[in-house]
């Protein structure tokens, strides 16, 4: 309306429908917002945060930082070398938690991890070790530039992918994916689980290291994980619960170097078979790629963008750009979905894992429209999948031009969850997830859809409001 005597091309009306009707009656196109009251008690904090003069530019910076990151696969090596982890140090998924409050699957994974590191011979003996606490320590993966799916337990001898943003040299890490069923990350610690982990350390890790380094140092340069995600999102993966295309594209890039490495052909074949038959192998690259992007948006004063969503099986936590390292936590929820075999809702543990980093970056549940098969986990339909992705655009700051959804006319994935929009709309981020057994040692029992506990968003908003008020006063 720079020229006030010219009629507006259109009007956006939010509030009383009679005013929208009156404008429409004057032959001006109107789009009406489906406004509803915000989450209870958030009005004042919303007003403070939205009036923060730093907010708009801070969020624009945060979003563009995320979108600018390119994640490349530069190395594979043990956690002891990469993160300086020592015997007795354990990383886990989600916000900080002590053994006393740890859920069954996290305990099971820690017990298995202790046996893997030789701290105990029988995983069952590790319970006393963790209860005493003197020789072991727990710390979130997120505090060590890492992410871990499900229990997310990392011990010094586990091999990890290293992803690097070439523009800044920043790095993130993630362990190698074990497959589905009875696996450590779902809290299983039977002999077969430990045997597989030892093979991954002895055979798979070194083979992948050789291949990743060879590709990195070749003319093509390192594997572009962000670029693979661009393609797999157009191939039916949403890169959280469906990583079939991503896994095969990774194999395509690494297999020649593995084959020509001179390693024992039987080992190479075994490794290729293992990776190729594990549809989730690429998840452990998608996750650190997402974290690498989101970490670039941390600590921007005034930004209301969520930079991490993570669960430890007991608590669901988020971190927000404008509030530094603070975690806002609430009880992890039970997923709604389908169960393997005889398992049922009573067997499932509440939501667990750092893998919600994919949704935080705009894929996974946020890209449901590109992987309609996933929506059936809750008995949904293809229109549900489209509606979910569209709905996530209501709570995000922008779109990712690199990651697009063909069926939505190649619209970019909804990127940058805005705490204020979640509080305003009451729309919670939609997460696709696996379900771990409630009891340590059981493993996977199903998969489904879950949301964060609603109250953590008003809590984060309150902290943003307090920080904004302090900054304005200062």
């Amino acid at each position: 309306m720079s020229t006030p005597t010219q009629a507006p091309a259109s009007v956006v009306s939010v509030g009383a429908s009679m005013f929208a009707d009156a404008v429409a009656a004057q032959a001006v196109p109107v789009s009406s917002v489906d406004w509803r009251p915000p989450m209870p008690g958030t009005e004042d904090h919303l007003a403070t945060v939205l009036a923060d003069p730093r907010r708009r530019d801070a969020n624009a910076r945060a979003l563009s930082a995320v979108l600018d990151v390119q994640a490349t696969l530069v190395d594979v090596a043990p956690a002891s070398e990469l993160l300086g982890l020592e015997k007795g140090q354990f990383l886990h998924a989600g916000p900080p938690i002590a053994w006393e409050r740890a859920s069954g699957p996290l305990r099971g994974a820690l017990m298995g991890g202790a046996a893997l590191e030789g701290l105990v011979d029988d995983p069952e003996d590790a319970v006393a070790l963790f209860e005493a606490g003197s020789s072991v320590s727990l710390d979130p993966c997120h505090h060590h530039a890492s992410v871990g799916p499900m229990a997310g337990v990392v011990t010094p001898s586990m091999w990890m992918f290293v992803l690097e943003d070439p523009a800044t040299g920043r790095r993130t890490h993630c362990t190698l994916n074990e497959g589905l069923g009875k696996v450590l990350r779902y809290g299983a610690y039977s002999p077969e689980v430990l045997t597989r982990l030892r093979w991954m350390g002895d055979v798979l890790g070194p083979l992948l290291q050789g291949a990743v380094r060879a590709v990195r140092d070749s003319d093509t340069g390192p594997v572009d994980v962000t670029g693979i995600l661009t393609q797999t999102l157009q191939m039916g993966d949403e890169a959280h619960n469906r990583n079939r295309a991503g896994t095969l594209m990774l194999l395509r890039d690494l297999a020649p170097a593995m084959v020509s490495s001179g390693a024992d052909a039987a080992h190479v074949a075994e490794a290729l078979r293992f990776v190729g038959s594990n549809d989730h192998f690429f998840l452990n690259l998608a996750m650190p790629a997402c974290k690498l992007a989101l970490d670039s948006a941390r600590d921007i004063p005034g930004s209301t963008m969520v930079v991490a969503m993570a669960r430890n099986g007991t608590d669901f936590g988020i971190q927000v750009s404008g509030t530094g390292d603070a975690w806002f936590t609430g009880p992890a929820q039970l997923a709604d979905g389908l169960f393997l075999g005889d398992f049922g809702p009573d067997d499932a543990n509440p939501d667990i894992g750092d893998s919600a980093i994919t949704e935080t970056a705009g894929i996974g549940g946020f890209a449901m429209a590109t992987a309609p098969a996933i929506v059936r986990f809750v008995g949904g339909s293809v229109p549900d999948a489209l509606a979910t992705t569209r709905r996530m655009h209501e709570i995000t700051l922008g779109e990712n031009p690199r990651w697009s959804v063909p069926v939505l006319e190649f619209q970019g994935t909804p990127t940058g969850i805005d705490v204020t929009r979640v509080c305003r709309t009451g729309i919670l981020p939609q997460i696709n997830t696996g379900m771990a057994g409630r009891v340590a040692g059981v493993g996977q029992v199903g998969a489904g859809l879950v949301t964060p506990p609603a109250e953590i968003f008003p809590a984060a908003l309150a902290a943003l409001a307090q920080e904004a008020a302090a900054a304005t006063a200062g």
Binding site: P4, S13, F19, L46, R421
Partner: protein
């Protein structure tokens, strides 16, 4: 361990994805007489699951084969297996009924603007949430009209500071009326385009001006509301300056009128200085004691444009006053203010729920407005009387009740009312008001603020009210003076 109750078959070459098969399994598990069921591709993981459930596997099952495994309950009837297998086939071939995918509407102004770039934004959500929607508009680079009231003044300042930094216009909060390029927003009258631009810190004041100028044949190119507090010391006239700048830059605007209640002194001084620096002449119509009323302001505008001042129309003739008291019943706050300013000169202080000075306050006590020993005027559009109900321009119930009580009071001398037409107002105010007026003993003088092009058609409304016995004016100031004259004549 195979027995008569356990049924396992291999469907070589059949395929469905694992998620679909989980769903199929769940469906079959729900069939009456089925104790356990699993339909899955024979991958190593699924083979393990099937074995864990106690199903024997046929030899030679490969990951490309589908296993259908069903165990019947001990008390299953004869048809249970057939039902279970039929359920497998049905679930495998079922397709969700899919119609056209309807998009859900946007939930915030920010996201709605992604699909409607270039839009003007109109906010009328509850005051506590208005700043969020208005800030969305400013963040996306759009002007915004905020109809919502009860917005804290510090939020208004925050909005207008942001708008000022970005060269955007915030109309409001509590902005009832705007006309942008002939399009009425909020409560607005239908008028022809023309050479006048209005900046209004008052909704019904703006409407009165629009309608008087329309009657005189002068159109209004734009009427930009700024909210009733814009010229207060706290807000400092931020939106008034931006609105003036826009109108000044518009070559089709020949004269600008600023309508407001009395502004803060230092803000008024700054406003005069700013207006003097513009290329377009500015007429200030600032209501207050000793200041020209709205009709006088309209006449000044007409003279500056070199137009004739017409006789303001009157329909019907009111009878003599029946008592000594003047009772005003208004829907427009500025019209109520204007009437009080005029009546005070003749009758002395007027008590009101929106008093000209605090000692004249009635609060929201309508009994006091009825029984007071002196003139009273009630603004039914005031916040305290609209809490929990619609504005009286939309829902006339409360004012009609008070009209009946005032009309029955023998001390009532003259009843003074306004009726405000236009977009957003009730579709036919005369329908309920005319019978009430016909039943009233005291004379009723009504200012009907509207144009013949309004959805309610002012000519029709005025005729209906005059027919019922009211004396109908277009000018609220003239209506007020006529009411005073009737009281004077009766003395």
């Amino acid at each position: 361990m195979s027995d008569a109750r356990t049924h396992v078959t291999l469907r070589t070459g059949a395929y469905a994805d694992s998620v679909r098969l989980l769903q199929v399994s769940r469906t079959v598990q729900g069939v009456t007489g089925v104790a356990a069921a699993q339909v899955a591709m024979a991958t190593p993981l699924n083979v393990e699951v099937l074995e864990g459930m106690g199903f024997p596997l046929p030899q030679g099952a490969s990951p490309n084969d589908m296993v259908v495994a069903v165990r019947l309950a001990d008390d299953a009837d004869e048809g249970a297996l057939d039902r279970a297998l039929a359920a497998v086939d049905e679930a495998l071939t079922a397709r969700a009924a899919s119609g056209p995918t309807e998009e859900e509407p946007h939930r915030t102004t920010a996201t709605a603007l992604r699909d409607a770039p270039g839009s003007l934004v109109l906010v009328s959500v509850p005051g506590a949430s208005a700043v969020a929607e208005a800030m969305d508009a400013l963040d996306a680079g759009h002007d915004v009209m905020v109809f919502s009231d009860n917005v804290p003044v510090e939020q208004e300042v925050a909005l207008k500071t942001v708008a000022g930094d970005r060269g955007l216009l915030v109309m409001g909060p509590d902005c009832g009326t705007a006309v942008v390029g002939g399009v009425g927003l909020g409560f607005a009258n239908t008028t022809a385009p023309g050479p006048v631009g209005i900046v209004a810190a008052s909704g019904t004041g703006c409407q009165q001006l629009l309608c008087l100028l329309d009657h005189a044949g002068v159109g209004v190119g734009a009427a930009l509301g700024v909210g009733g507090r814009d010229l207060s010391a706290a807000v400092g006239g931020a939106s008034t300056r931006e609105a003036l700048r826009r109108l000044d830059a518009d070559p089709s605007v020949e004269l600008i009128v600023v309508v407001s209640k009395p502004p803060a002194e230092e803000v008024a001084a700054a406003l005069r200085e700013y207006a003097a620096g513009l290329g377009t002449p500015v007429e200030l119509a600032l209501l207050g004691a000793g200041q020209p009323d709205l009709t006088a302001a309209a006449e000044a505008v007409l003279r500056r444009l070199g137009r004739d001042v017409p006789a303001w129309p009157v329909q019907g003739t009111a009878g003599p006053a029946t008592g000594a008291m003047l009772r005003g019943l208004f829907v427009g706050g500025t019209l109520c203010d204007e009437s009080m300013l005029i009546a005070t000169e003749a009758l002395g202080p007027v008590r009101s729920n929106i008093p000209l000075s605090p000692e004249l306050a009635l609060g929201d006590d309508l009994d006091a407005a009825l029984t007071a020993d002196g003139p009273t005027m009630v603004d039914f559009g005031d916040d305290a009387l609209t809490a929990g109900r619609a504005h009286p321009m939309i829902d006339p119930t409360l004012r009609l009740e008070q009209l009946a009580r005032v009309a029955d009071d023998p001390r009532t001398g003259v009843i003074l009312m306004d009726v405000v037409l236009g977009h957003g107002a009730e579709p036919d105010p005369a329908a309920l008001l005319a019978p009430a007026i016909a039943a009233a003993a005291p004379p009723v003088v009504v200012a009907v603020v509207g144009t013949d092009a309004d959805p309610q058609d002012r000519a029709r409304q005025a005729a209906a009210l005059a027919e019922a016995g009211a004396e109908v004016h277009l000018s609220n100031a003239a209506a007020t003076r006529r009411a005073l004259e009737l009281l004077e004549d009766a003395r």
